[in-house]
């Protein structure tokens, strides 16, 4: 399944029973060089709209919100040593966390890639 996008510039992508979450290409461009990502503990339960992670550049810190109720299954530990992955491959190797969604259908209403692109052009 291809990724869906939120108005807060997160992407979420279903992969079998799980979903991966990260920030979009647009988001990493806006942030500049990422220096640190504050990730949650595996096992943490998140409600829709909760702060799932915080991504820091030198001059800014942005919150990353979970688009749906979920439990954190794993986090991308590669980001600890190489936060630059978020800049290089935000929608690939720079993924933040693997989630178990309470109801996978919750994300059906989110924007697809085309709709998100149009959205970013209005900003």
């Amino acid at each position: 399944m291809t990724a869906r996008y939120t108005r807060d510039h997160e992407w979420i992508r279903i992969d079998g029973d799980y979903a991966y979450l990260g920030i979009s290409q647009y988001a990493q461009e806006q942030l500049g060089d990422v220096v640190f990502v504050e990730l949650p503990e595996p096992g943490k339960k998140l409600a829709k709209g909760d702060v799932a992670a915080v991504v820091e550049s030198v001059k800014a810190a942005s919150e990353v919100f979970t688009p749906a109720d979920a439990e954190v299954v794993a986090v991308n530990t590669a980001l600890t040593d190489t936060p630059a992955l978020v800049n290089a491959s935000p929608e690939g190797d720079g993924w933040f966390m693997k989630l178990k969604l309470a109801r996978p259908a919750d994300i059906d209403g989110l924007m697809d890639a085309g709709a998100y692109k149009s959205f970013t052009e209005t900003l």
Binding site: V35, F36, E56, S57, V58, K59, A60, A61
Partner: protein, 447 residues
């Protein structure tokens, strides 16, 4: 008016360029009924001569510490500051510069901050230190908040040897934040059972060594007990020179070390400005409050320094910041750095040895005065004596004889009548044999 460069012609020309008839037009947004039409009810401008006269008269009403035998400590200490230090901190480029937010034209400030951070880390035996806090007491409150963030618990246990005003600051800040504090009773004999107070709810144990009463505390077993309970040890000191002679808190298992740096480079100045020293383990650095200076390179590959990890701070995280702090104690940190550079390990060791020796000699002399006993087995340059009768009245009488002989504990613990016969006495390198003799003689006279 000597500080204002404009004359009336300048002002007129500028108003014309701006396009308004008078300066009042630029204050038009102030509601008319609130504007002040006349001058404030305060004196008019004065020349330098007059300012010196007024302030000189005020200053002359005070008894400077250097004017006679002086043995007052209790959290601030009179040490000799080399003449170079005060000269250097008054250089324009240090005195009148701002926070180094434009690092290309602030490498002077940034380099000394990097040196300061290194000195503080090495002095305390810790892995990383920040670019200073306001003082030791506010630093201690920040250390407690940091421990709460790290352990996700909200109860601090405070040793009875912690400076009473430091305790009060922690209690005030914790009370406002809704956190809890268990403060052990005052510990003048250095014999409290703090480990029994550590439990599964404890976020941190805060222990001062040398304590307020002068005792040297074995931090290692406390650190062990705290860690076993999932808590952190916050080690506090108020006399930085002590670290020239005693085992550093970092070597004893402390997780956060916070203290007062005033003793090195900074005069007494009636309580401020001082400089807080704050150090911790590398793994906790993102939760550390205050400014941090880090090493990097510039576009030509040359080494340089910048403020870093700023995303912890208020100007970026706003209501999610690790703290609300904006300033550090810049110029006081510079004074510390310069004095410490002049001392070096060799000078600091000698200075600490002299402080200790002076205090030992004083303790021996005082304990020979009838009715006076020294409570401490161990101490560095400060100890507690028990005197016959009311200690505050005694200290007042000594002052009338020209001897500033310590701090009566009751001044900082007025609600504790059982401590009313105790005086905390400090002796640094500035005391001579004559000072000590004068103290003993005065004491014998008033008792």
């Amino acid at each position: 008016m000597r500080f204002l460069p404009h004359d009336d012609a300048d002002r007129a020309a500028m108003l014309w360029k701006i396009g308004v008839p008078s300066i009042d037009a630029l204050f038009a947004d102030i509601p008319a009924d609130k504007r002040l039409n006349g001058l404030l009810d305060l004196p008019l401008a004065k020349s330098e001569i007059e300012v010196e006269r007024i302030l000189g008269r005020m200053a002359a009403r005070n008894v400077p510490a250097g004017s006679g035998p002086f043995f007052v400590g209790a959290g601030a200490y009179r040490h000799h500051v080399p003449a170079s230090v005060d000269h250097l901190i008054q250089r324009s480029e240090f005195l009148t510069s701002y926070t180094p937010y434009q690092p290309e034209i602030a490498q002077g400030t940034l380099q000394y901050l990097f040196e300061f951070q290194t000195q503080v880390a090495n002095l305390t035996g810790m892995e990383v230190a920040n670019a200073s806090m306001y003082d030791g007491s506010t630093g201690t409150a920040e250390a407690v908040l940091m421990a709460h963030r790290l352990t996700r618990r909200r109860k601090a246990v405070l040793s009875g040897g912690l400076h009473p005003q430091y305790r009060a600051v922690v209690e005030t800040v914790s009370g406002m934040a809704g956190d809890s504090v268990t403060a052990l009773p005052p510990d003048p004999t250095g014999s409290e059972a703090i480990m029994a107070a550590i439990d599964a709810d404890t976020s941190c144990v805060v222990v001062q060594s040398p304590s307020f009463y002068g005792h040297l505390i074995d931090l290692a077993p406390i650190a062990e007990k705290a860690h076993a309970a999932g808590a952190l040890l916050v080690a506090v000191f108020t006399e930085a020179v002590a670290l020239g002679a005693i085992e550093p808190p970092g070597a004893q298992g402390a997780d956060i070390v916070v203290g007062e740096g005033q003793s090195i480079g900074n005069p007494l100045t009636f309580g401020g400005p001082y400089v807080g020293l704050f150090a911790t383990r590398q793994k906790y650095v993102r939760q550390m409050p205050g400014r941090l200076c880090g090493e990097t390179v510039d576009a030509e590959g040359r080494r340089g320094f910048v403020l870093t990890l700023s995303t912890r701070e208020q100007h970026i995280r706003r209501d999610k910041a690790t703290s609300n702090i904006c300033t550090n104690s810049g110029l006081c940190a510079l004074a510390f750095t310069i004095h410490m550079s002049l001392l070096g390990e060799l000078g600091l060791s000698r200075l600490a040895a002299l402080n200790h020796a002076n205090a030992v000699k004083l303790a021996e002399s005082l304990s020979e005065v009838t009715g006076v006993s020294v409570l401490n087995d161990s101490f560095f340059n400060e100890f507690t004596i028990r005197v016959p009768g009311n200690a505050a009245a005694l200290v007042e009488k000594l002052a009338a004889l020209g001897v500033l002989g310590g701090v009566p504990v009751s001044r900082l613990e007025p609600a504790r009548p059982e401590l009313a016969d105790l005086v905390v006495v400090a002796s640094t390198e500035v005391n001579t044999d004559e000072d000590r003799d004068a103290f003993v003689r005065a004491l014998e006279e008033v008792l």
